[in-house]
């Protein structure tokens, strides 16, 4: 119990005396996860829209695969990506291993199925009357798509938020492809894992609390944006 209390105390002192190293770590976390989310959304949202709106052969299989991949073990993603990016692997010539880019790639692979699958769910739950109505009013297929996506935006946003939570909390994949190099690829979660290994439980817990606080702030902003979208309907 003592450790938990002193963990909280330490967390507050960390927040109030943000040193340069910790700021760098926090910033890198946000950058890697933010970049991963942008990549995942850029590919995942159109992908989710297509499987939500179109009916084609193999669609059910794709949906099942996507849903399964929402639970991809990060360590497996990390290891596979490591073998691909390794100097002895197919993309080794790019020299990407142990860089923030490799970490963002790993996280976007983890985020993609969540964004795509939840985007698809949001779209299929839009009232079919809306589609019929817009077609009747003479909308082009692209305009129909945009109308439906607008209707589904609350659910789509939920998918993005869920994916963000997943990548911010993730440690297994980025530890393998990032290497947790001090001042270069060390982020919040890998720092927490390292400090736990070192036996600095209070510091590790404090960093965990800081991470949660940051996630809370970001989620409050995202939720505000989400609510905004509903009110202007």
């Amino acid at each position: 119990m003592d450790s938990i209390i002193s963990g909280f105390v330490k967390a507050f002192s960390l927040i109030f005396h943000l040193d340069k190293e910790l700021l760098g770590i926090i910033f890198l976390s946000l950058k890697v996860s933010g970049l991963a989310l942008i990549i995942a959304a850029a590919i995942g949202l159109p992908f989710g829209a297509i499987i939500g709106l179109r009916r084609f052969y193999g669609r059910d299989l794709i949906i099942s695969v996507l849903n399964t991949f929402m639970g991809l073990p990060p360590v497996v993603v990390g290891l596979s990506l490591y073998l691909i990016l390794s100097r002895s692997g197919p993309l080794g010539f790019m020299g990407l291993l142990y860089t923030p880019s490799a970490m963002a790639t790993a996280q976007s692979i983890l985020a993609f199925p969540i964004v795509a699958s939840l985007c698809h769910s949001a779209i299929v739950s839009v009232d079919p009357i809306i589609k019929q109505a817009s077609v009747t009013l003479g909308a082009t297929p692209l305009q129909v798509t945009i109308t439906i996506m607008k209707e589904a935006r609350y659910g789509i946003m939920s998918g993005v938020i869920a994916a963000f939570g997943r990548v911010m909390a993730e440690v297994g994949a980025i530890l393998i492809v990032g290497g947790n190099i001090a001042g270069y690829t060390r982020v919040m979660t890998t720092t927490i894992a390292l400090e736990t290994d070192k036996g600095n439980f209070e510091l590790a817990l404090a960093l965990g609390i800081v991470l949660l606080a940051i996630s809370l702030m970001i989620n409050m902003v995202l939720h505000y944006v989400q609510k905004l979208g509903v009110r202007t309907k």
Binding site: K31, L35, R87, S88, L97, Y98, G179, L194, K198, L228
Partner: protein, 273 residues
Amino acid sequence: MRLFKSLLLSVLVLSVVSVPAVSAETRIRCASTTSTQNSGLFDYILPIFEKKTGIKVDVVGVGTGAALEIGKRGDCDVVFVHAEEFELKALKEGYFVNRYDVMYNDFIIIGPSNDLAKIKDMKSASDAFKRITETNYFFVSRGDRSGTHIKELSIWKKAGIEPKGQKWYLEVGQGMEKTQRVANEKKAYTLTDRGTWLATKDKDKLEMSIVLEGDPILFNQYGIMAVNPERHRHVKYKEAMEFVIWIISQEGQKAIADFKDKNSNQLFIPNAK
């Protein structure tokens, strides 16, 4: 929705602008073990080397097996590990070149302060293990395939005893500190590394003491070697060798000896030849 768009845009701009400016400085990558990294040794010695040569050393701390594998695949320039047998094997297979002994730390056998099994005047670790089995004391084992556990098993093997399944043999599957605490509670003997022992014995109020040390089988030798540039042409062999030569030089060896943990104990004894 406008707010959403501007927010998304600002995140996008921020992430593009802040892509790490990897400066022109030379960086080499060193695969090493978690134990070395966690001790804080690198935080102490690397700045000295970097100041002298301008070469930045990025340390990837993984298990010994993984560190060697990373080196074999050409994903680092130099490896710094403690598994002599495996190091020599990989060296012979041509994955690495120029291996040197760097330093060692050691394992110790600890037991109840009153040492009722009377180990204290013994010299050999395997004899001590045998003695423990002949008494009624428990032996607590890490049981987690860690370096310490593997060392412990090799001592049992030398003693010719199969401990698994015996009622005096407790496999806890936990870290070193927890294992020591269990041994303390059970008034048992265990094998530990000196660093953990020195760092935790007072904090955890262990009523235990060192009963055996100094047997060569208890030494944990660390070695350094460069990835073979003929096998992986992209490696920074020249800079890696600068690091290797420095760490076995008088200056590097002194830095290792000067490194102390937060309780001012020396954790590694330099022994480059």
